[in-house]
């Protein structure tokens, strides 16, 4: 009895002391220290050979980064983002605290893996390890302030391995995403459409846009949770992306945010055929309806239109996503793409999408030229403009476009949370004999054009795709199940017969 009393009194005392300490910490202590574990940096495993490094640099790098490393090579103004200017030693992808130099390993990694979403390729495909290390040494020689020589990086951030991804962790990450205002630049759903996304500039004064968190394939520093965590911890020097170690001091919280951002990434599914699934009843006009979700999607990659003047080397869009449904009456194609800005015309051109089909339903083996057709083989364009809505055009080459009547096409587009969704509809088989036909089982060539008004894209300044196909999928006939069943059973019959034969013979032999 006594001992329990004493114990409980001691507990009471301890609790009081703890409460006082906590109070004192809360009142007097500085904000919590950022929790960042550091580890020593390993030296570069290959010694510098300036002559070899210079030769390799001139052969493989100078075309973009320039002879003097100023990021001004012959291709520099034709790629977006612009190539890195090495003279200021400001690097985005690092393993070091904000404002500091990268380690040699950081430079080696960027050279080896490339920078996704840019024209910097992964050089590990073409150059040996020793050659890539020579390039690391060479790139450091362009540093005009001699920072690499005077204060080489001795420590780097130890990333470690990510925690287990749990719903609680993601919920915490989501809270942080909101409370730390990530959405202000990156948008509520991460599509790079935040309110301050416009008008951002990097340290060189070039316009820069926040990354779209749904496009993991464009994350400069990689899209593994570890990579995202590293980026939060280091920040991107030379850009508006800060380090979050002060804003989010606990490493665990940064992991939660990294896990949440990773959960926003969607997977890219490229393909050659857009399959329209059969949908019983009316096809929903709401592009967020469950039927569209179920229809599945195909990502069609886009490139700049660099074939006809004015050539366009830096397209704003890299992909367009399409879904399709059909019923007994009509086919509906939903195209969606992310755009941080909603341009409806005025000072800047309006955002615009086009579906391109052969204008004649039967062109045999031949097809119209994949960019706007030609005199012999015209194309039909279903254009939806964010300001003007639908127009139907016939193009006999880039210089001969004419507007036509809508031909029974309808289009409805919406812009929400940094994303356009446009639904085009038309009768499967129209009355007119020379119109496009989408009867089930028929492959119809289709191509896509996309224009971002904010980037000044209009007319031939656009992103284009190759020819693909759209097909209203034939429902699987009963015979597709019947035949396998019949042949499978016949095989079982054959087995039984063989079994009996061999066993009887065995019996006789015995």
């Amino acid at each position: 009895m006594r001992s329990t009393e004493r114990r409980s009194r001691r507990h009471y005392l301890a609790a009081t002391l703890a409460a006082c300490a906590a109070l004192a910490a809360g009142v007097f202590a500085a904000p919590p220290r950022p929790e960042v574990k550091m580890e020593p940096v390993k030296p570069a495993p290959v010694a510098a050979d300036p002559a070899a490094g210079k030769a390799l640099y001139e052969r493989h790098c100078a075309q973009c980064h320039g002879e003097q490393g100023k990021g001004d090579g012959p291709a520099a103004d034709l790629v977006y983002p612009r190539p890195r200017d090495f003279t200021l030693a400001l690097y985005k992808v690092r393993s070091t605290p904000t404002g500091q130099l990268p380690t040699d390993q950081d430079l080696y990694r960027a050279i080896s893996e490339g920078l996704p979403g840019t024209s910097m390729p992964p050089w590990k495909k073409y150059l040996s390890e020793a050659e890539r290390w020579q390039l690391v040494h060479q790139v450091k020689t362009f540093d005009v302030l001699d920072l690499f020589r005077d204060e080489p990086q001795k420590a780097r951030i130890a990333v470690g391995s990510p925690p287990r991804i749990t719903p609680e962790l993601l919920a915490r990450g989501k809270d942080l995403y909101e409370s730390k205002k990530c959405g202000q630049c990156h948008g509520q759903y991460g599509r790079g459409d935040g309110t301050s996304a416009d008008q951002m500039k990097d340290d060189w004064g070039f316009p820069i846009r926040p990354v779209n968190f749904t496009k993991g394939w464009r994350f400069r520093a990689g899209d593994r949770v570890e990579d995202i965590y590293r980026t939060f911890t280091t920040g991107f020097n030379g850009t508006p992306m800060p380090s979050f170690v002060d804003a989010i001091p606990a490493a665990e919280d940064r992991w939660a945010l990294a896990a949440y951002v990773k959960s926003l990434v969607r997977s890219q599914k490229t393909g050659h055929v857009l399959k329209a699934r059969f949908h019983a009843g009316a096809i929903p006009a709401d592009p967020w309806a469950a039927a569209w979700e179920k229809a599945g999607y195909v990502d069609f990659l886009l490139a700049g239109q660099i074939i006809i003047e004015p050539r366009w080397f830096t397209p704003a869009h890299d992909v367009i996503t399409a879904r399709a449904l059909y019923n007994g009456r009509e086919i509906a194609i939903l195209v969606e793409w992310d755009d941080g800005t909603h341009n409806r015309g005025g000072a800047k051109p309006a955002d615009e999408v086009e579906l391109q089909f052969p204008a004649r339903p039967d062109t045999g083996d031949e097809r119209p030229y994949f960019v706007l057709g030609d005199r012999k083989n015209p194309v039909e364009l279903w254009r939806w403009n964010a300001g003007k809505g639908l127009t139907r055009l016939i193009a006999e080459g880039a210089d001969r476009l004419r507007e036509e009547r809508d031909g029974g096409i309808a289009a409805e587009g919406t812009y929400r949370d940094g994303q356009y969704r446009v639904i085009f509809r038309r009768a499967l088989v129209p009355e007119s004999k020379d119109a496009l036909r989408f009867e089930p089982g028929r492959f119809v060539p289709v191509a896509f054009h996309l224009r971002d008004g904010d980037a000044g894209e209009e007319g031939l300044k656009m992103a284009v795709s190759a020819w693909y196909y759209v097909i209203a999928e034939l429902p699987t006939p009963v015979t597709a199940y019947l035949w396998p069943l019949v042949l499978g059973l016949a095989t079982v019959g054959g087995e039984i017969w063989l079994l009996r034969q061999l066993r009887r013979r065995k019996g006789v032999a015995a």
Partner: protein, 253 residues
């Protein structure tokens, strides 16, 4: 060895299949894999059947399943797997496919006898690169060709001419890989010049000119620039063009 005739045969089939599927790049079409597999199966069976004892060893494991000598589990698995495989293959054959229709394409079509260039006609026969020389000016021309390449071609053909530039994924057919021995190193410079000058639009019908993203470069470049960029792509890919003399000797053999 003969005792393991069955296991060895099955291993050979598996090895050939795995080799065709995993080791060959770009991927081999299914029809070609099927052809090779049929040949492999026939070849091994002929070999097995050529010797009576070997054949007996080969058949024994199969026989044991049906006579009931094999372990019970093996009997069940084999007897169920055979009809299931038959049903699966049948289903694959009859189910309507929505794979893109196959489109035949001639990769290196016959060049025409002559083609239009900046308002005149170029004869292909005997056409050689007027800028190819052995003097010191060659390096300078190659360097100029490099600038032309990186302001016009690298978006698709890539930094290292491997046909994998940042736009490459958006086009079908994919851009040419000049590092591949099957491309420019087996062609004459006149052929490459024709392809550069007239682009995708200059291809004959069999080469699907409507799909090619290759621009008509004579619309953007001078004759000299085109010859210089050709010097560059041969130099940077470490290949040498076929010459007319070689072509003649090829024809004779």
């Amino acid at each position: 060895m003969q005792r393991f005739a069955f296991s060895i045969t099955v291993l050979i089939w598996a090895a050939v299949y795995a080799g065709l599927k995993l080791l060959v790049s770009p991927p081999v079409p299914t029809s070609v894999v099927t052809m090779y597999m049929v040949l492999t199966v026939i070849g091994t069976l002929i070999f097995v059947a050529a010797n009576e004892a070997r054949f007996a060893h080969f058949v024994a494991p199969i026989r044991s399943v049906f006579t009931g000598e094999a372990p019970r589990a093996v009997q069940v698995v084999v007897l169920v797997a055979i009809p299931a495989a038959v049903a699966w293959v049948t289903y694959q054959r009859v189910v309507p496919s929505a794979d893109a229709p196959f489109e035949a394409r001639v990769v290196h079509p016959e060049p025409p006898a002559s083609f239009p260039l900046h308002g005149k006609r170029m004869e292909v026969a005997g056409l050689a690169n007027p800028l190819r020389s052995t003097g010191p000016e060659l390096r300078k021309r190659i360097a100029e060709g490099k600038t032309v390449y990186f302001r016009n071609c690298f978006f698709c053909h890539g930094d290292t001419l491997a046909g994998d530039g940042h736009f490459a994924g958006a086009f079908l057919p994919i851009p040419g890989n000049f590092r591949d021995v099957g491309t420019i190193s087996m062609l004459q410079e006149s052929y490459v010049f024709w392809r550069v000058a007239t682009g995708g639009r200059g291809l004959p019908k069999g080469a699907t000119p409507w799909n090619s993203a290759m621009p008509v470069w004579q619309n953007f470049l001078t004759e000299d620039e085109m010859w210089k960029v050709i010097l560059y792509i041969y130099d940077a890919s470490g290949s040498t063009p076929r010459t007319w003399d070689e072509a003649v000797s090829h024809a004779k053999h």
